[in-house]
């Protein structure tokens, strides 16, 4: 939880990204603590903090290695940052390192979340808490809409009709018709892969 430990000692000179990584791989405890720290700093998403800690503060990976690792975790199913902790830890220290990073990322916030759940179960009916949470929910939905807009921008700029139609289709199937996720994805993924494959062939030809 202490934010004040390493950076001053480790960064004698400010250097750009992509320089050599530190030669000695970190120990299991160091991995656990580093991921616990970035997890607890990560309000509203851990990725920014993870990149900062791994690439800039500890120099455990170059910027390129980090991007590669994240891209892999992004297209695999599951929570991206959780996948990243396992893959990253395992790269440095084998499966034990993966588990250390995974546990560091998840254990402290899970404990906090459990305490919050207990508080909510006891006091969730108290009017003041209920009203405050309602206000936070409204703002949280607004934030989610903003993320959706930001992610849509490149598709809109390119007028990528195929992607926009696919996006709208998934939105309608899940958001409006409330169909089960598995069924929708079993149809949508092959259709999307097929459509993009054909489109790229056409562009190449």
């Amino acid at each position: 939880m202490s934010e004040d430990s390493a950076p001053a000692a480790q960064q004698p000179v400010q250097e750009p990204d992509g320089l050599a990584t530190s030669a000695v791989p970190p120990g299991l405890l160091a991995l656990f603590l580093a991921f616990a720290r970035m997890s607890l700093a990560g309000f509203g998403g851990v990725l920014v903090f993870a990149r900062q800690a791994i690439v800039e503060q500890h120099r455990w990976m170059t910027a390129d290695e980090f991007n590669e690792t994240f891209a892999l975790c992004h297209f695999l199913p599951g929570p991206n940052i959780v996948n990243l902790s396992m893959v990253f830890g395992a790269r440095l220290r084998g499966i034990a390192g993966g588990i250390a990073a995974f546990a560091g990322l998840l254990l402290p916030p899970t404990l906090i979340m459990t305490v919050l759940a207990i508080i909510y179960a006891r006091f969730g009916d108290v009017d003041v808490l209920r009203r405050s949470l309602a206000g936070i929910s409204c703002a949280a939905v607004g934030l989610l809409i903003a993320v959706v807009f930001r992610m849509m921008t490149p598709l809109l700029k390119r007028l990528d009709a195929v992607a926009l139609i696919l996006m709208l289709g998934v939105f309608l199937a899940i958001g409006v018709l409330r169909l089960p996720l598995q069924a929708v994805l079993l149809v949508a993924i092959p259709v999307s892969v097929g459509a993009i494959f054909l489109m790229r062939r056409k562009v190449a030809a």
């Binding site: 297209f75 790269r91 909510y120 206000g135 959706v148 696919l166 289709g169």
Partner: protein, 176 residues
Amino acid sequence: MNAENPIWALISTFGLMSLFAVGGAAAAVPEMHRIAVEVHHWMTDKQFADAYAIAQLSPGPNVLIVTLIGYAVAGIPGALAATLAMCLPTALLAYYVSRLLNRPSQSRWPGLIQAALVPLSIGLMAASALILAESTDRTLAALLLTATVAVVASVSRINPLWILLVGGLLGFAGIV
């Protein structure tokens, strides 16, 4: 391990869900809502919206909304079971795939599949927003707050935590 055991129901539900959760935690929210509120009646609509708000406000990966769902179903064991079921199988999968892919190859399939998943995950997140908005934005003031936040957060780089706290204060004051 019978079908009635709530812990087992949590493990099988979230373990299976995580394997289909492309595009991260936000994209899985509609499915969590469908399972927790509509299929199993583990929570009410309002409780789900509250859980989402708490998960956003707390540190750590946003996927930990499953911890709150698990707690609502089966207390502390439920919270731990749901969290591990949602996070561990895909993390191990990622570990094995990354070992496999570390042998370098110039295949274009990873890039192609990734491009194909982008519109799907945006669609999923938009659906999350709609479902959550339906349960939270019951008044005009609430709808206005959501819309304002959507615009402000789209055009500025303000720290989301401040926005959430302002929302909490407005709710506390009884405005939304």
